[in-house]
Amino acid sequence: MRNILIIGATSAIAEATARRFAAGGARFHLVGRHAERLAAIARDLEIRSGQAVTQESLDLDRLDAHPALLERAEQALGGIDVALIAHGTLPDQNACQQSVEQTLAAIHTNALSVISLATLLANAFERRGRGTLIVIGSVAGDRGRQSNYVYGAAKGMVSLFLQGLRNRLSGKGIQVITIKPGFVDTPMTAAFEKKGLLWAQPDRIAQGIVAAVERGRDEVYLPWFWRWIMLIILHIPERLFKRLNL
């Protein structure tokens, strides 16, 4: 039985992942913004796992609340085995371009608050000598593109930060996993036309996340083909890339 903390538990990917963990036997502490939706998810997971689920609703932008939040999670679970950080927003790129305030707010939510939580969790895991930290990044963080570089910059920052964290904690029994999903059919992407082979369902990402934990992976593109797409995108020379309409 694993004790699992999920931050951003109302995200579609987080919920699908929690269901897969629940089927294998798990106890959850959920953190998210919307109390009502959190309660519905907690009730569902209680039925699926047969275990009591605890929850807390909180605005994760308040970085000063993070230490106490994690303390309460520790207490509720009696020690955290796995932490999944899944919260985030998909900012409006055009609006961000016109507003420094919105740009920084997007980076605050998608990068700084994640880094704050990852730092605190990593240190707690280091003290205990074990733990698994999973963070949902994005393929958007691999290269800056005009269509979503604010979101991409935040996800890229998280990705680099986790690489360093993984390097620091390597050999200390702590697993740091960066998940890089491609296009996923979730409420976050509700405004998109979701047709074509590149779109995946949240459960497919969830399956990949659980597999990444079992197999001790470091950085995982989900579904798998994004690894090869991003390999190509990363190798396009900047002279050419800057002229592409991406």
Binding site: A23, A40, I41, R43, D44, I47, R48
Partner: protein
Amino acid sequence: MPALPAEPLSCLPFGNGRSYGDVCLNGGGALLLARGLDRFIAFDPAAGLLRAEAGVLLSEILALIVSRGWFPPVTPGTQFVTLGGAIANDVHGKNHHLAGSFGGHVRAFELLRSDGERLTCTPEHNADWFRATVGGLGLTGLITWVEIQLQRIANPWIVAENRRFASLDEFLALNAEYEARYPYTVSWIDCAARGRALGRGIYMAGMHAPPGLMKPPPSERRALTVPFAPPVSLVNNLSVCWFNRLYYHLPRPARGLTPYQPFFYPLDNLREWNRLYGRRGFFQYQCVIPPAEARAALREVLARIAASGQGSMLAVLKRFGDQTSGGLLSFPRPGFTLALDFPNLGARTFALLESLDEVTRQAGGAVYPAKDARMSGDSFRRYFPRWAEFSRFIDPRFSSSFWRRVMGE
């Protein structure tokens, strides 16, 4: 409540899209994708009461309850249906002669109307809305959650018995005998057989295995997927003829222990099996004939099919019992029900189905809307005489391709 699409666009709840015709379609209108409502709300493992959002699939329910000693009270031939869809079509299963249809085991549900009103419906409370919504083809509003009473099982195994029968009369005799002994009964019919072999087939009966009678858990079977739809149907007169002959004569154990999945859901392990019928697809046809007319009418239906040379591979015959759920538009009613599939050959297939409708109409039977894509408005009103009473409960913002078709709108 989430906003509905702007007028004049009509809406229709869409579950998992497993009905065969246009009851789950709304051409030119909007679909409300109900699969997003997929959370469990409450489960009482002592009483077997389960409450869940209406987009939860039966497969998800099975994954939760079977290991805890419970089973759905009624299950259709696929586990990939939503709870809301099971109510909207008042689905039935192999235990209809004992348990009736799905709607009879629904304790309560919530109906969300387009004006924002939420009605909690039970057989006693808002009973008129309950009866309109059970079998109501999704037209009375959006079902948001459902509470059902499960049945107890000792383990996931089924004691199954198979027996070959050489004619329709032999089926009728066997049926009386087996129904008394087994809660689940169904027969496969060789539709290609004519003359003296008319109505031959295989009788399949089953019951949940008693405590102690079980095997170690079977290894998980990997599902196969039909990768694409070939230009022409692989199910045709020739293949049906040979398949049916082979299937009829195939030696099979008379009695044995089988996991519940292949017993209830033989096609669920062949994903996208509909593609076998090629790009033009296929029609399903399921009728029910009242007991008094059954023998003659079924013979006539089978004879017309055999004469048409349009074979059906998945022909299934079963008796419906007297128990009804009370749904105004429910299809199951006392009698014998025959389910068939036909590759779409265009006008020839339409003509055959209309000629089967003729037999069904004369016998005072009905055709199942969940499997229909072509019945006439006249037929529909004959089959479902309470349609006018029902139509008072339709949500003003809701409609479907099926409803507009049979109402001639």
